[in-house]
Amino acid sequence: MFELDLFELTKATVTMLVGLTAVLASLGVILCSSPIYCALYLIGHMICLALLFLLYNAEFVAAVQIIVYAGAVMILFLFIIALLGGKKEIQEPSTERSLAIVFVVTMLGELFLSATVGPTRPVEGAFDAQTVAEVGGSAKAIGLELFSRHVVAFELASALLLVAAVGIICLSKFSYVPLRRRMK
């Protein structure tokens, strides 16, 4: 009994620490002036979120988070930064900016107020940790659900990815050329 309590306590502490690190890394993303540091902070944030997913029993989504976000998407960001040159941004205070800060702080307060209410009616689904382990892990459980009840969403997602691929080929191949350069 005591060891179980110790385990729960350690898990709670680790969850709290990783959550705070994720928040700090997200602050680093928006406060750094150089895009390359923002990208590095964003990678740290993604990894913290993957750890949080692991702590909330979502192993498959944590792996996908690492592969898709911290891997593919961030490599894309870093390539674009390397291509365009990470120029530092000069921050000057302006009225619009202070308005934006006030708006965001108000939104944060409202969200915190709504968070104190909590769920009104807890729902008990069929997939507790025991069932997921019996099925054969979270990847298999997700697969069983995805290919039975959510198969239409899966097909639509594949169509979306195809459209995005065709779209960027069009964007990069038939890109807009200004008129005066075309006349030469």
Binding site: A12, T15, M16, A22, V23, L27, V29, I30, P35, C38, A39, L42, H45, M46, L52, F53, Y56, A58, F60, V61, V68, Y69, V73, L76, F77, I80, L84, E89, R97, I101, V104, V105, M107, L108, L111, F112, A115, T116, G118, P119, P122, V123, E124, G125, A126, F127, T131, I142, E145, L146, A153, L160, L161, V163, A164, I168, L171, S172, S175, V177
Partner: protein
């Protein structure tokens, strides 16, 4: 950790992302802020799917990741095209369509 922790962390990250989108001028960092907002919602979905013992939240998070990947690819291609034609990285200067 309970519902409150997930809600508070997720709300904080979402608001940080919204603030970054509003106050930054570099389109790349604005895109990173959008990623922050999408990720905070992912964390909320994962946390609640764990509390409610359901797989639907995780499948939602996977779908959000798919949409985010498509969005990032198209958005970065647009940024690259704009930079190729204008050689300028400030969103305040891109006002050709402004009425």
């Amino acid at each position: 950790m309970g519902h409150q922790f997930v809600l508070l962390i997720s709300a904080t990250i979402f608001c940080v992302g919204a603030a970054g989108f509003l106050i930054r001028k570099n389109p790349l960092i604005m895109f990173m802020s959008v990623e922050l907002m999408l990720n905070s919602v992912n964390f909320l979905l994962i946390g609640f799917s764990s509390f409610q013992k359901s797989m639907d939240g995780q499948i939602f998070a996977l779908m959000i990741m798919t949409v985010a990947a498509a969005e990032v690819v198209v958005g970065l291609a647009i940024i690259l095209t704009i930079f190729r034609t204008r050689h300028d990285m400030d969103v305040d200067h891109i006002n050709t369509l402004k009425g």
